[in-house]
Symmetry: C2
Subunit: 226 residues, 2 copies
């Protein structure tokens, strides 16, 4: 008698179904027992393929991060970074329920590390010293991750809460005198996040370039005094 409707249990199949569950009903809906059930197996059977639930989540994240396009050929480092980080953003937004976990499990796999490596490579290729490159990397990473988090946690849509969390509405805000917040709600509701994200990215990179120029200039001046 063959197995019901399921192929044999493999790591790939486990990750695929786990991701589907997370995408559909949130990270908190993933339990070993339910994941096992969806795979036609007891929850405890999963421990023969992964040592823990956390390791499954890490593996799901690693698999998703493979979707980030790192092989981007652009003339300038600014354009290359912009496209890599846009790809990271799209990858994260494709799985909104996974975003908080992605933000807090930074170096749990080689896939996420490869993304960092590439960004550092681009910055180094632009001629930045170790410390400046690390600074730029950290600034950009904070922005991308922070943007994804605030967007998927529904920061802007203050009164259009689609998430499970209760959210403040315009009346409540107004009754506490938070008038700016109230008046900005329509603007926020009609917001193009893709464009805003890119604008912010440009602002940051402009700032980084300016800062880099200041450092170079200072170095040249100090050289003159020697």
């Amino acid at each position: 008698m063959p197995r019901m409707s399921s192929s044999p249990l493999t790591r790939e199949r486990i990750l695929r179904v786990a991701l589907r569950m997370i995408d559909a009903n949130g990270l908190s809906s993933l339990s070993m027992r339910k994941l096992g059930a969806k795979l036609g197996v007891e929850g405890t059977a999963l421990y023969h393929h992964y040592p823990s639930k956390d390791s499954i989540i890490d593996a799901v994240i690693a698999q998703v991060m493979e979707d980030v396009d790192l092989a981007i050929d652009e003339a300038s480092w600014v354009r290359r970074l912009r496209r890599i980080l846009q790809s990271q953003r799209q990858t994260m937004l494709a799985h909104p329920n996974l975003v908080p976990a992605m933000a807090t499990h930074p170096f749990s796999s080689m896939e996420t590390a490869r993304l960092s490596e590439t960004i550092l490579e681009v910055l180094a290729g632009a001629g930045l010293e170790d410390e400046t490159a690390l600074h730029g990397y950290q600034t950009l990473r904070a922005y991308v991750i922070g943007y994804a988090i605030t967007e998927t946690s529904g920061l802007l849509a203050a009164s259009v809460g689609s998430n499970s969390q209760r959210r403040l509405d315009a009346r409540e805000l107004a009754s506490h005198g938070l008038t700016r917040l109230v008046s900005i709600i329509p603007t926020a509701a009609a917001y193009d996040h893709d464009e805003d994200f890119t604008r912010g990215l440009e602002a940051i990179m402009t700032g980084l370039q300016t800062e880099s120029l200041r450092l170079s200039l200072r170095a040249v001046r100090d050289g003159e005094n020697d």
Copy 2:
């Protein structure tokens, strides 16, 4: 016979002990039963003061956010924003185990909303239109939250993992050819995050100012053509 060692159960006392538990052993160590035990009471007694565990966490976050100093008087809006956001950063870092929850529970209380209101106020006071102000707000917020998340999740300290998560070490990175990451580890280990955060903030605000100037200039030019 008086109660053992405990004053009567109040919302304040519940929040105080809950925060202590989170600070000491992480958010995941907080359970209704354990929190009740620390308060000298059954876990179920807490439901007479808060409707759910989530509402307790929201209330803890709201209480912590009150530590952010919003009453800052500075001449320029850039300086004012810098000090407000530095205060937000310090407040978040004072409770590292709460940072992910703070990042994902954005508008769960008036306290967090008041911070947003103040930032929008400063940006509006600087003469920015609604849309530009919202853009600046979103950019800055993403940076502050993203920075706090990556820092407390141990992004930079790739090989100095103090957290529970297993982290990639230099040998593993090197064996996968991630040489930039390996070579930057010493720089990252000796990093002054406070200074780096402020530098990134300056870079962003420089970028925002430049962007704002471009917009004004375009508006003036368009006006000439009328």
